[in-house]
Amino acid sequence: MSAVTQMKPQAPAPKASATISTLPERPRKGLALPGWANSLAVNTLPPLVVVLVILAVWQIAFSAPGSNLPTPTTVWAESSDLILEPFYVYGSQDIGLGWRVLTSLERVAYGFGFAALIGIVVGAVIGQSVWMMRGLDPIFQVLRTVPPLAWLPISLAAFMDSRPSAIFVIFITAIWPVIINTAAGVRNIPQDYRNVAQVLRLNHIEFFFKIMVPAAAPYIFSGLRIGVGLSWLAIVAAEMLTGGVGIGFFIWDAWNSSRLTDIIVALVYIGVVGLLLDKLVGFIGRVVTRGTSEA
């Protein structure tokens, strides 16, 4: 039995019977910062560097005279007011991007809210019944792949108005992942929990609220998270076609009046808001399902 110590820590030991290799303690490198500042630096520094690099490359690539896209500096020069003042109001169509985002978010709130409510209930019913599952799942799988905008003409024909149409498009886009995930969650409720419910003679409503929703919550929230992402994709696209004051229409409008720099700023807004929506639903999910994943 040889005790090889600190010779070649990286090399995988060739399955010696009992080789004790003490790894040299890793020297604590980096700045001596307090914990929170350290984690902040670790989490924000790399993306910050990457963004700066991208901006630099972009700047260099499109600096040549006659290039057809603006550089970051031109974006700043022409559209900095959009970035600095999200909530100005100069006229009914001349409002800050913050207001536009809020308008879009309001539609998302309606469409996604309905999708969440109805999706959870429908998913729960389907998950409870093997036959419903067998019959409906293939249909959902097909409908789920229909792109949001493909629903718009039908929606416009049905509602004859752009606002409910846009909301319906969000609803119909977001509902499938909610239904499918909820059904999967309900199907995966352990038999034990069902037995407990049966012994206690819980009725359907009690079972739904006390067992089904909490037990399926992790699945439900992953469905909601996908759904909210799709909603945001859908609203921007739908608004480009239906008009109004949302962020999607703003892009379309800017394109028609050749304000490329405004479009770029709007894209950043959309990306950031989409990320925040995703994080928000993820956060709510984590808080709500705190106990479910343990044990």
Binding site: N195, Q198, G291, E294, A295
Partner: protein, 264 residues
């Protein structure tokens, strides 16, 4: 006829075109306040029998009567302690018991009485100190205690325990056996407990029901354990009655009905 009467019960599972006869002609009478252990090799149908009594599965033939009433569906008069505790992980210990108490005693006890009753049952298993913990934060033995408290809180006519201590280490198991004996002595409930453990069966039970191997398992032998109560594990271990009972069970399990590796 006993308090709990199982008469000529058959159970055959039908899945698609496959039929599996698991239990055949089970006959058993259990008196009120009696403690019965069911022992048998793995897969012989012990859980199936317990689920029939609980009403979680339907009998194929025959009938089960409890206190004069036919067993048709599950209900809180036949509380079950499941093998894997089956506490709801998103509820605290207190809320897990509360779920049962609210359901069973709504309209019978007022809010303060229900609160007292929950705490009383947690006290019975010495778990009041963990009332605000979630199942994920307590040990396996503690979870099983809470499972027992939840079942007791329903004030069942019969308490059904399906290998409640199967997953626990020997020491914890011994503690919980003592706890169950203590509860049985204090409350005098009728209890049916499935076990794999010969010592557990002999120490706890008034009668041991030994099942033959499946398929179509039935009751092979019933043994009375005439040990006086309260029983104490150390002195019992040298008691001739205890040793004889133990030997009888071992002989049944390992000589007459040796476990045949089932061809799955």
């Amino acid at each position: 006829m006993g308090y709990l009467n199982i008469s000529h019960v058959d159970k055959t599972f039908v899945t698609g075109s496959k039929r599996a006869e698991v239990l055949r002609d089970i006959r058993l009478d259990i008196a009120q306040g009696e403690f019965v252990s069911i022992i048998g090799h793995s897969g012989c149908g012990k859980s199936t029998l317990l689920n029939l009594i609980a009403g979680l599965t339907d009998v194929t033939k025959g009938g089960i009567k409890l206190d004069g009433f036919e067993v048709k569906a599950p209900g809180p008069d036949r509380a079950v302690v499941f093998q894997n505790h089956s506490l709801l992980p998103w509820l605290t210990v207190y809320d897990n018991v509360k779920l049962a108490v609210e359901k069973v005693f709504r309209g019978v006890k007022n809010k303060a009485e229900r609160h007292e009753w929950i705490l009383h049952n947690l006290d019975l298993v010495q778990m009041r100190h963990a009332a605000d913990k979630r199942p994920g934060e307590i040990s396996g033995g503690m979870r099983q205690r809470v499972g027992i408290a939840r079942a007791l809180a329903m004030e069942p006519k019969v308490l059904l325990l399906d290998e409640p201590f199967g997953a626990l280490d020997a020491l914890t198991r011994a503690h919980l056996q003592d706890a169950v004996m203590d509860i049985h002595a204090r409350l005098g409930n009728t209890m049916i407990m499935i076990t794999h453990d010969v010592d557990e069966a002999v120490l706890l039970a008034d009668r041991i029901v030994m099942m033959t191997n499946g398929p179509a398992a039935t009751i092979g032998e019933v043994l009375d354990v005439n040990l006086p109560r309260p029983r104490e594990r150390i002195s019992a271990a040298t008691d001739p009655t205890y040793l004889k009972a133990r030997q009888a069970v071992l002989r049944f399990l390992y000589e007459r009905h040796r476990f045949v590796e089932a061809a799955e």
